[in-house]
């Protein structure tokens, strides 16, 4: 009896959990659940962006001066690196969908490497800021005393926003690494592609946060 139901053609799918009507409903539930999580992330970063926006409106001239110490070259390279990692992540998801194990390993590996590259460049930038006493801690020192307080605010927001973003990059790398291991052990490429798709959604979100951080922090108009 139960075997007959399990083999009913329209209902059966190897990855279908019993609580769902069919595989389409299951996949949509995955995606909606992930977006619900991403909405909370949007609101989380939204508060950071709002704090930044309010203070930039209030202290625009000082923020313009303070942002000159940021390295636009490194910021641009990092934007490129992260955009490229989103591209390779999208290709990894596609490889998972068409069940190409090798493609998954290659593109997840590429995404992981690019994410690591992003963090290395970020670390170089951070170390420059520490060396120039721009980290808003005990040793903070800004050459122009007249705007030192506002510059401190700018660098607090800079380290706060990019630091939170970097934590998200690290979290993303852990999940991408887990997907890479999963693909390596998946000899027959039989696994469900949805976990890779979910990982992709998260990674693209991390990319979007940086897409807004880059012009806001590095490209302040005079």
């Amino acid at each position: 009896m139960s075997a007959e139901i399990a083999h009913a053609p329209a209902l059966h799918h190897e990855h279908l959990s019993h609580q769902f009507e069919d595989i389409e409903q299951q996949r949509e539930s995955y995606v909606v659940g992930m977006w619900a999580f991403l909405v909370t992330e949007i609101m989380f970063f939204g508060a950071v962006f709002l704090a930044y926006t309010v203070y930039r409106v209030l202290h625009h001239a000082a923020f313009y001066e303070a942002h000159k110490q940021l390295d636009i070259g490194l910021g641009t390279i990092n934007t490129f690196v992260l955009l490229a990692s989103s591209f390779t992540m999208a290709l990894a998801v596609r490889c998972a969908q068409v069940r190409s194990r090798r493609g998954q390993v290659v593109f997840l590996g590429a995404t992981l490497s690019l994410a690591g590259g992003f963090l290395v460049i970020k670390a170089v930038e951070y170390s420059h800021k520490f060396a120039h006493h721009l980290f808003p801690g005990q040793a903070f020192h800004y050459p122009d005393a007249a705007i030192a307080d506002q510059a401190r605010l700018f660098y607090s927001l800079y380290f706060g926003a990019t630091g939170l973003h970097a934590i998200h990059v690290i979290a993303g790398m852990l999940v991408i690494g887990a997907m890479l291991v999963r693909a390596l052990f998946d000899r027959d490429a039989k696994q469900d592609y949805m976990p890779v798709e979910m990982t992709g959604l998260y990674w693209h979100f991390v990319d979007i946060v940086w897409i807004f951080l880059f012009p806001l922090l590095y490209l302040i108009p005079k």
């Binding site: 949509e28 995606v31 909606v32 977006w35 619900a36 991403l38 909405v39 992330e41 949007i42 609101m43 939204g46 962006f49 709002l50 926006t53 309010v54 409106v57 209030l58 625009h60 636009i72 641009t76 934007t79 490129f80 955009l83 490229a84 989103s86 591209f87 992540m89 999208a90 290709l91 596609r94 798709e197 992709g200 959604l201 693209h204 990319d207 979007i208 897409i211 807004f212 880059f214 012009p215 806001l216 490209l219 108009p221 005079k222």
Partner: protein, 96 residues
């Protein structure tokens, strides 16, 4: 989704990256420059959401969820900035 769409989306993102760097050098005034930078960032985000995150090809329910976060973000920004920007119009003692 065919690979060519991903390639096109990526090329579009790179073009917009170059555009935002060039636009930042134009002397258009603070407000206009900021507006262009944000518009280009929003365009990049839309490409990522529509193509890399497949929202263009997803169900209506997923599209509503994807829009919800950004819409509420706009409400939060709109109301907060409406407050901060108009404060200077009629200064009141004790207010910043």
């Amino acid at each position: 989704m065919p690979v060519v769409l991903y390639v096109r989306a990526f090329l579009g993102l790179l073009l917009l990256l170059v555009a935002t760097l060039m636009a930042a050098r134009l002397p258009l005034g603070v407000g206009f420059n900021s507006l262009i930078a944000l518009a280009i960032a929003a365009a990049k985000a839309l490409i990522v959401v529509f193509y890399f995150m497949h929202v263009r090809f997803s169900s209506r329910l997923v599209q509503i969820w994807a829009a919800a976060g950004f819409v509420w973000l706009l409400i939060m920004f709109g109301i907060t900035l409406a407050d901060y920007i108009v404060r200077s119009w009629a200064p009141i003692a004790g207010w910043q």
